[in-house]
């Protein structure tokens, strides 16, 4: 989780990732930032994020992104 927050802060420093729960709906992360984020996640956690998983619910908070990574690891 710490590693994920580190990645997020590097990509978009103006957000408190421990509390923010509307990263996509609140437009804190735009499409290109999400793309960079996916690239970082795939690189760091050795998973593949399919397009079908790119929905606001999966990217609205650091917690939900981490849950997605965990789910993809299991698959």
């Amino acid at each position: 989780m710490d590693k994920l927050i580190e990645i997020l802060e590097e990509l978009q420093p103006d957000v408190d990732y421990n509390t923010c729960e509307d990263l996509v709906d609140g437009r804190h992360l735009d499409s290109l930032t999400i793309l960079s984020l996916i690239s970082e996640i795939e690189n760091e956690f050795d998973v593949e994020v399919p397009t079908v998983e790119i929905i606001p619910a999966n990217f609205n908070s650091a917690k939900s992104i981490y849950a997605l990574i965990e789910k993809l690891k299991e698959e």
């Binding site: 990509l11 735009d30 499409s31 290109l32 793309l35 960079s36 690239s39 690189n43 397009t51 790119i54």
Partner: protein, 525 residues
């Protein structure tokens, strides 16, 4: 036909509501489907066959996906099998169907919308090589083909991906594709957003009826008070731009952008208002676009449903495709995460904006419009780290109100220029208008002394209308929903507001031979 036709909003809709209320629950979706097909048939006659073909094609594709998924699950239950191989086999089968159905649907769109443009440009090439030119065929497109085709594609892709379950109910799917308030100008909602809601609509309460008509009337206010008046000015400037100075052209392009916004958002007020009557929450297509910080922000607030479609069905699939992923990985060794993703994202963005331009129309000004926004968004992203550094060095607070004000003005100016190319007859005309703005900003000619064909009364009403919309937008931006606030007021105050709105439309609307009502602009896309 237009949603602003009085017979549609004040006769057709109430009659549909009445019949809808009278029939038993089971028959309600059939009434809505009949109303939708009736509107379609009224405008496009037997071209309704293409709407049916699209609907049938995605219905069958969805069923086939479901069947294949069932077969796959059965095969995977067996022991001593290569699961990966089976998954691959079924994925391939499904992919073939997906491609076939998308091509089938796009081919209609191509023939009706792009064949003429394609033939004209192909002939230009044939002429260079002194080959025989092809004859140009002009076809009248089925109503809302640009909208319902995208809805059809979104359904078939979502069922392919397993995001939604394929629908076994043809009426529900047909209603989703053709729902009469959405057929002409969208919003391009996804199946999961509206299909169930429309199919299950069962009541029209007095509250919903008033709440819906409140919004419909606001749409009429925008159209009849502002749009049809601004149209006179816009026509004057765009048709005779050579005889105006830069300032007048600037006024012309701002007016055109306002006209476009009021016309399209006003139509959405009618569309969403009809949805409200049936208690169907159709997704919003606008969110105060002129409070945008940058062009990316603008496009997340303007024609939202098209942006969502292009993001979900073009941007991510292209940028996360195998070849672009490979490119990103290899670039990561040389560049930072920001720039390596930007290159893959940039290629996907190009596809998005090329298609966005093309979707708006078969013509070079539209493609130019798309490319203009592509360049602006790409530049914005490339220079963002630099701008952050410069602001930090100059101690500019990027969170301050002043900076936000500066961002709004900058973004709006860029939008006005983009819309100028969008409206101009040719790209060359747009470039000439831009040149006049830079070289003859304040040079006076005799044309500047006229009010662009409007009298003082018209000008005053345009201003009042725009101020009303601006105040409501500021309140909305600050999370105050004016409609809900009106709802809370005492019945006398509430009805006084309704009557004021109705009276202002009846008395102050642009009627008569002086005004040529603006045709629904977005229905042509």
């Amino acid at each position: 036909m237009s949603y602003f036709d009085l017979w549609f909003a004040f006769l057709f809709v109430p009659v549909v509501v009445l019949i809808f209320l009278l029939v038993p629950k089971k028959a309600k979706p059939y009434i809505l489907l009949f109303a939708s097909y009736a509107i379609f048939f009224m405008v496009s006659n037997f071209l309704i066959i293409f709407l049916l073909l699209s609907t049938i094609s995605i219905f069958l594709a969805g069923k086939k996906f479901k069947k294949l998924d069932g077969e796959k699950a059965k095969e995977l239950e067996k022991e001593d099998i290569d699961k990966k191989l089976i998954k691959e086999k079924y994925k391939k089968k499904k992919k073939h169907i997906l491609v076939l159905v998308i091509l089938f649907n796009i081919s209609f769109l191509f023939v009706f919308k792009y064949l003429k443009f394609f033939t004209i440009n192909l002939n230009a090439i044939l002429k260079v090589f002194k080959l025989e030119e092809l004859s140009i065929i002009s076809l009248i497109a089925p109503l809302g083909i640009s909208y319902y085709t995208l809805k059809a594609i979104s359904y078939v892709v979502d069922t392919y991906n397993g995001k939604i379950e394929a629908d076994d109910n043809f009426v529900r799917l047909a209603l989703y594709v053709s729902f009469f308030p959405q057929i002409m100008e969208g919003p391009i909602s996804t199946y999961s957003e509206t299909a169930e809601q429309i199919y299950n609509a069962s009541k029209v309460t007095y509250h919903n009826f008033c709440y819906g008509y409140q919004r419909i009337l606001f749409g009429f206010f925008k159209k009849l008070i502002i749009v049809d008046r601004l149209n006179i000015l816009v026509k004057q400037v765009f048709n005779n731009y050579m005889s105006f100075n830069g300032l007048s052209i600037l006024i012309g392009i701002i007016s055109y952008t306002m006209l476009l916004y009021m016309e399209f958002s006003g139509t959405m007020d009618v569309v969403l208002g009809i949805g409200d009557i049936f208690d169907i929450k159709i997704p919003e297509n606008f969110r105060q676009p002129f409070f945008s910080k940058n062009i990316t922000d603008f496009w997340s607030r303007w024609h939202i449903s098209l942006g969502h479609f292009l993001k979900d069905y073009v941007f991510y699939p292209v940028s996360l495709s195998k070849p672009l992923k490979k490119l990103s990985v290899s670039l990561r060794k040389k560049l930072s995460a920001h720039y390596s993703s930007l290159i893959a994202g940039g290629i996907a963005l190009f596809c998005v904006w090329f298609l966005n331009g093309l979707w708006h129309g078969a013509g070079w000004p539209f493609l130019f419009f798309g490319m203009y926004h592509f360049v602006l968004i790409l530049m914005g992203n490339i220079f963002e780290p630099l701008i952050i550094k410069i602001c930090a060095k100059l101690k500019i607070n990027r969170e301050s109100k002043k900076y936000y004000g500066f961002q709004i003005v900058k973004t709006s100016l860029l939008v006005f220029i983009g819309e100028m190319f969008f409206r101009a007859d040719t790209v060359r005309d747009g470039l000439r208008m831009l040149k006049i703005m830079f070289t003859k900003m304040f040079v006076l000619s005799k044309n500047e002394f006229y009010y662009f064909g409007l009298d003082m009364f018209d000008v005053a009403l345009i201003f009042i209308g725009l101020i009303v919309v601006l105040v409501i937008s500021i309140l909305k931006e600050n999370n105050v929903n004016v409609r809900d606030e009106v709802e809370k007021k005492h019945i006398i105050v509430r009805w006084a507001i309704y009557y004021l709105l109705i009276l202002s439309i009846i008395v102050l609307g642009a009627y008569g031979p002086t005004y040529a009502p603006v045709d629904p602009i977005y229905a042509d896309f």
